[in-house]
Symmetry: D2
Subunit: 257 residues, 4 copies
């Protein structure tokens, strides 16, 4: 059964910025969708959703039928309704995978799941980035031909990146200007897995890069819920459990209750 | 310079439940305060704060002068104001230590910092608990004479405990009724450290137990901010950094901006 | 392409102990092989190898064609030749998966990969074990119907378990006699993944238990090398890399060399 | 009571290489000793030991009275006797702290404790290194004035660094030539803590740098054994424990033994 993937995109820059419009005439989400399909083929069924659709395109019907959600946002994080954020967070805790891209580090959904500020350093200088794999053999790196890949022109993100220590650290970026950044990392929250992947600045053709495309597809696959597991059960209130049959005859001093 | 510690306590059960009142006539916070003083002596300056004080006793003046905050809450988590929760979370991310006790696993401050539901299993059967150390040599275990200690009558907490994977796992509990629980764990969030310690049910004399007292004191010391470090700088907005002098003459295609 | 799995077994107890012989007339390795085939079906091609075969059954040809090796040893750890241990360790660092079972915690291959003593507590009292999942949604737990499963009669293993902090903790066991144990855990070493799974005492019908069988099969699948990744490249000597083209004109003070 | 620190040094380059001799006329160990004393003052009692002394200067008397050992080796790793390596490893597992410096990544003691190959990339081009702190608030960073510090001329070390995932990652280095490296990390093995700190190439005045000196001193303090803990008990053989009194009347089928 194919994975149901929803590519969520803010989809604003393409409407106001000529550079972005020229790079992504149909929107970045369409190119991200193609990248995921390119990597995962028949294994995936991808739809898109954008900020300005009703309920940001994330209706209950859509969310309930999404195995993995990808998230790109930047200028309009504040416009994402708290009600939708609540639903997305709840779905992740119940097992839905989440791939957070680039400036999505500041998205409400990511900050809520991390519990930290998620700040970082940044600079727009069209500088070179080298993305090093520090976790050889990890599924997210499948298909990469070397232990690093390069992007010629990027927006820089620098440490310290204010996130919890990742459960898995996969990529560390080097930037021409002197910074480093934990560019690929995985966290588990409740029953769901979250992959943050740094590249994706809107004014550069990042999502046409073959390595970025591959990692994006790999990431979607990696965070997908595992069939047959009970990850969804975590997102439950406290559970009162009965006296165990194991506790046969132990003495209970009722006056203590 | 002594650590400034604030023991925060819901302080409601003592007013309504005879068992609790008899165990803790002045309130659990007073006994927790004594336990911390007993362990840390002159190294600590402890005050208390409770839910029903103005601003829950956590005024800006108090929070700004608190190195480590301990938190016990249970029945009235919902009554803690979101404004105070915001302040506490911000202080932790800026470096203040936090020790969360027992039913505080469901406190707003803990859930916000964890990003997960923080649910668990529970049962009141006055059963026996054995708390095993799985991290020998850890500072939080100083003074424990064996690799486990026991509490004769406790409320049970069972796995799965819906928290992120801890940065450090220190204790795992065994319960007579057949459950296990990660009873002592540390997470770092922003510049602050958080220690969760399970024991502390109000109807048992838990905070009179010498091992619990020692671990509580050790935990306070362990999560205290480290003098001379920059942990507080994390809780900052994104920082735009200038072009590095390292980037001497690289070509910037201005049309890309 | 199916995974090539080699089930390695000490295969001594079956020859000298009536209880073990009755439980596993053809040897535990045959039952483990069946369990893996039962879980993974056509996805797997399983052979066996035992201590008393030439080269312990682990010739270069076998090792070079093994994706995942499982290891059960107990009384004869010292008889495993260091030469074979070297080869197995090298293969793991080069990407081969390893599943270490029960008393294999003391196998040379495991101790070498862990770097620690790998000691633990133990007791033979045919007591009950409850194996709790603390990592809901993990692939290794697929097919388990509840958040724990039980084994009626086991040898007890207790904490502290002298291993490095696992990269992933999946199961914690509860024992009737008062102990707990980290019973399922994953470490990555070089390009290879290692899954330790506690159950498997030879005098009990552990490998006939449906949950144990499922976890064993899941574990094999989980630690298998990921096609298309560069995990194998880690097990290389230091690599001298040339001056980067990025370092165009920086000043090198040759006198410093 | 002051910490007893032993600075172990290969002490060969100073005897054969003019550059090194000029930089460290009395040997690097003397400068490292001074750096540790400078940071820790009366809190520390530092001696040195070198390869060409009898037993490499690491007699039982010395090791038994060492709380923290620092290790610098490069050209003569193979000359360190396995007997001494065994003793050092055993002491670390029993609680002694270990600080491994620069090319010590390939020392026998480090490889044994890591269980991996410990390889990396390297290049001698006297390039610039920026060492970024990714763990603000960590004790090892105390006294650093910014979130990074620079070394003008270094030997480069690049990822992937073939070590287990650290328990704590503290520094990531940026190199002028395009590489990154996890330059400061902590692992716990048995009862002991290990801090690897990358800087320290012999042909540059690294150990005169005030930030390197501070981190070296901080690292020594951080990995020191914690008084009153049971870390030393881990390095024990398996422990058979008696039937628990908790197991009062459970049925044992003796035929199973």
């Amino acid at each position: 059964m194919p994975l149901n993937v929803t590519v969520w995109h803010e989809f604003r820059h393409e409407k106001t910025n000529e550079t972005v419009k020229n790079l992504y005439p149909d929107g970045m989400h369409i190119v991200m969708k193609q990248a995921i399909e390119e990597t995962l083929g028949d294994g995936v069924n991808v739809r898109t959703a954008t900020l300005d659709e009703p309920e940001h395109g994330l209706t209950d019907e859509v969310l309930d039928n999404t195995d993995v959600l990808t998230w790109w946002g930047h200028a309009a994080h504040a416009e994402v309704s708290d009600e939708i954020v609540d639903k997305v967070v709840k779905r992740v805790l119940s097992g839905m995978g989440l791939v957070v891209l680039h400036s999505g580090h500041y998205a409400k959904v990511f900050r809520r799941l991390m519990g930290t500020g998620c700040g970082l350093k940044w600079r727009e200088a069209a500088e070179r980035e080298r993305i090093w794999c520090v976790n050889p053999g990890h599924a997210i790196t499948a298909g990469l031909e070397k232990d690093y890949f390069e992007l010629e022109h990027v927006e820089m993100y620098g440490e310290p990146f204010d996130v919890p220590v990742p459960d898995e650290l996969i990529f560390i970026s080097w930037f021409e200007g002197g910074e480093v950044f934990r560019s690929g990392a995985v966290w588990k929250r409740g029953g769901g897995r979250i992959f943050y992947f740094r590249p994706g600045h809107e004014t550069f053709p990042i999502y046409y890069d073959k390595n970025v495309r591959r990692v994006l597809g790999n990431g979607v696959k990696y965070v997908a819920p595992i069939p047959g597991t009970l990850g969804h059960t975590l997102n439950a209130p406290n559970i009162k459990v009965p006296l165990s049959p194991i506790q046969a005859e132990h003495e209970v001093d009722e006056s203590l209750h």
